[in-house]
Symmetry: C2
Subunit: 245 residues, 2 copies
DNA sequence: TTCAAATGTCTATTGATATAGACAACCATA
DNA sequence: TATGGTTGTCTATATCAATAGACATTTGAA
């Protein structure tokens, strides 16, 4: 790990936030695995070329996120460092791929609504604008920790009752199975990144300025008929995607 | 587009930066296509619930990026709004997919080095740690505008001279062809997101606090033998990825 | 020509950010 | 139990970020 380079001065983003990002990245990359601790505040201050108080602000933010825990007299211990891997493959089975990485994977239904398809949703689901669709607002957690927040649309007549099915099975796959769709495939996925907004920050327990990985995905049944369109927002510092071709 | 919601107060990230991000997003989503202009500063200030001076700081930042141009007495004109789409498919042809979106796609070789494979690189390329590899540092531009910054490793003995070939053809595909590898496939791709560091900020002409989309990809020849491992950093506000399964 | 609407510039004030230094409290261990 | 290394707390100061108000300058259209 030799030495983290000095931070450069940026306008618009507080120094302590930039340093928090750097330390979070270093932790997640295993730079401090030998000791299981972050270097002393004075050392970090020297490495980054900033005042010790600034480092303390950064560490306080990381402690708030539950990543580190400071103990007076000893040092700052690393509490969590994992980054969940989400495979993006033709056969979409989020829960399956995650099973070995987290003990408890849950999907919570935050809201359900029946509404008319917008032009964009209609295009993705091969419907006419105004056709009825069901919208689900869901939150995925790994070991009690929120990982992603998704908004999904389904053709209303084919998937009536999917809200209740999701609430019961806590996953899209199980909800589909409950409604008689035993298999489906991922058709297209778009990936972008952006800063988190207010609502997502709250749901995903993010600190201000955090990054989201955003996927827009369309799934079809085995006949190629669209069954789901969804926009998912992932906490970027907790996940990575893997695309296997 | 009705109305952009009020921004919330965040610590650590300057308000004007958050607002710049929101406006950039609105421009790229086509919200202001009718007029080709951003709403007046006073209107934006009202929409976001901030002072006009704060909006001006945001617009100044966007002007610095070349996205808008303010004209006294008229308004603030939109100069650029595109977001390049990069398909991530088995057959990786970056230049091909981009052809219809940008007039001029270039790949510049920033640096070339022959070095020993680290443990990680060796693992990806199915080599032994310490085996010779060639590392290329490249920069991709679309219409003179930097889009991504990549670091790629190749087995040295098989692809000796790939630096010169890349400099000549300005793409990995052409460089491979020059060296007798006419076809190759994308084996695995990992996608993450993070804030840009100093070096990438400079190369990609990013403003402080900008987001990077990061891919780690391994390509093989048609026999499944690894030919390239690369880490690419994309300016997140200029691109999106599309995964077609 | 006049006027409304838009951006440009200036001054002033408040709170957040960053630096600096000093010292207290706590922990592990020699 | 003494000591060195570490985090916790306090005070003080300078700079940046954000708000507020006033007015100048430019443009396009009535």
């Amino acid at each position: 790990m030799a030495g983290l380079k000095q931070v450069q001065r940026q306008t618009g983003v507080a120094l302590w936030r930039q340093i928090a990002d750097r330390i979070r990245e270093a932790i997640s990359s295993g730079a401090y695995d030998e000791t299981g601790m972050v270097p002393p505040e004075t050392v970090l201050a020297l490495q980054f070329g900033v005042n010790r108080h600034t480092v303390r602000s950064a560490l306080a933010a990381l402690a708030q996120e539950g990543i580190v825990r400071a103990v007076q007299g000893r040092g700052t211990l690393i509490e969590r460092k994992e980054r969940l891997n989400f495979p993006i493959t033709k056969r979409t089975r989020f829960s399956a791929g995650i099973g070995d990485q987290a003990r408890e994977m849950r999907g919570l239904l935050l809201d359900e609504a029946r509404e008319e398809a917008s032009a964009e949703i209609a295009r993705w689901l091969h419907l006419k604008p105004g056709d009825q669709v069901i919208r689900l607002e869901t939150l995925r957690q790994a070991d009690k920790r929120p990982v992603s927040r998704a908004t999904s649309w389904f053709p209303a007549e084919r998937f009536a009752g999917i809200g209740a099915a999701y609430r019961k099975g806590e996953s899209i796959t199980k909800a589909f199975a409950e409604l008689g769709l035993s298999d489906y495939v991922r058709a297209t996925t778009e990936v972008t990144a952006a800063h988190a907004g207010a609502a997502d920050m709250a749901d995903l327990e993010l600190t201000p300025g955090a990054i989201l990985l955003i996927t827009k995905a369309m799934n079809t049944d085995l006949d190629g008929v669209p069954v789901q369109y969804s926009i998912s927002r992932f906490a970027a510092d907790r996940v990575q995607f893997t695309i296997e071709n």
